[in-house]
């Protein structure tokens, strides 16, 4: 297992959690490239819910072209006027963008030393941004790796309340084929994260 550059004692399971968050972030930020699809087609899962979802991604990725998946991404998240889904925490929780959930996230980001890039105009509570933040907090991209208690606080404050709901919607969305599998993985992973944090 890689990530040898990290001197911090992040356990193997935690590195794998970060990898799953990065996989979700990468696919929800933009449609995957041909190279991405090739990597997805090379994954393997067991018969757990997470493993089954990964196997589903593998099967669909092997049969999909980047053009097809890009179109799906567009229909789901961009659309004409708007996509089928609006992947922002504030929108899921309040029905509007830029509400209190976003303000609370910004407070925590500033406390944790996470900054939005200057060239990004949309709010930070996008599901891909949150998954990327979780990955970074787990392995220490933003400084020291966050301990589990702090990870739990961040997860419960900004992700647990809506991400499972979003991933379930993604799994069942009309336009979803490849993304139905991403939704399946996200929903299964959120269940595991939820339960694992109960042990912290």
């Amino acid at each position: 297992m890689g990530e040898a550059k990290l001197a911090l004692p992040v356990s193997e399971e935690d590195v794998l959690r970060a990898n799953l968050y990065r996989l979700l972030a990468a696919t929800l930020r933009a449609g995957p490239s041909r190279q991405d699809l090739g990597m997805f087609a090379d994954m393997h899962g067991d018969d757990t819910p997470i493993g089954q979802a990964v196997s589903a991604i593998t099967r669909v990725a092997a049969k999909s072209s980047p053009e097809e998946v890009s179109r799906e991404f567009h229909d789901l998240f961009i659309g004409v006027g708007r996509g089928e889904l609006v992947p922002y925490g504030s929108y899921y929780l309040t029905g509007f963008l830029h509400e209190k959930p976003l303000a609370r996230l910004r407070n925590d980001m500033s406390r944790l030393g996470i900054e939005r890039r200057d060239d990004v105009a949309e709010p930070e509570d996008h599901i891909a941004a949150l998954c990327e933040m979780m990955a970074g907090l787990i392995v220490g991209d933003f400084g020291e790796a966050l301990d589990l208690e702090e990870q739990k606080k961040f997860f419960q404050a900004h992700i647990a309340s809506w991400a499972k709901h979003f991933f379930t919607d993604l799994e069942g969305a009309r336009s979803s084929v490849f993304y139905a599998c991403i939704g399946q993985l996200g929903a299964a992973f959120m269940d595991v994260e939820d339960q694992a944090f109960l042990m912290v």
Binding site: F77, E115, F142
Partner: protein
């Protein structure tokens, strides 16, 4: 870094293993690919993320 007793941490790791987190192979390559893609763009202040097409939709949504 891990706080709490080692027993609790070990129990949690066992749970994650059983839950399939470590039975999934190939995600490291995907994750590394995703980091490499980010690193290719100039990143200021550590945390980088971008969702270019979302910006347009976001503006549309914010307009009502």
């Amino acid at each position: 870094m891990a706080k709490g007793s080692d027993k609790v941490a070990a129990g949690r790791r066992d749970f994650l293993k059983l839950a399939g987190v470590s039975a999934v192979t190939g995600t490291a390559a995907v994750a590394a690919g995703s980091v490499a893609a980010e690193a290719a763009a100039p990143v200021e202040g550590g945390a980088g993320y971008q969702e270019t097409d979302h910006v347009k939709t976001y503006y549309k949504l914010a307009a009502f």
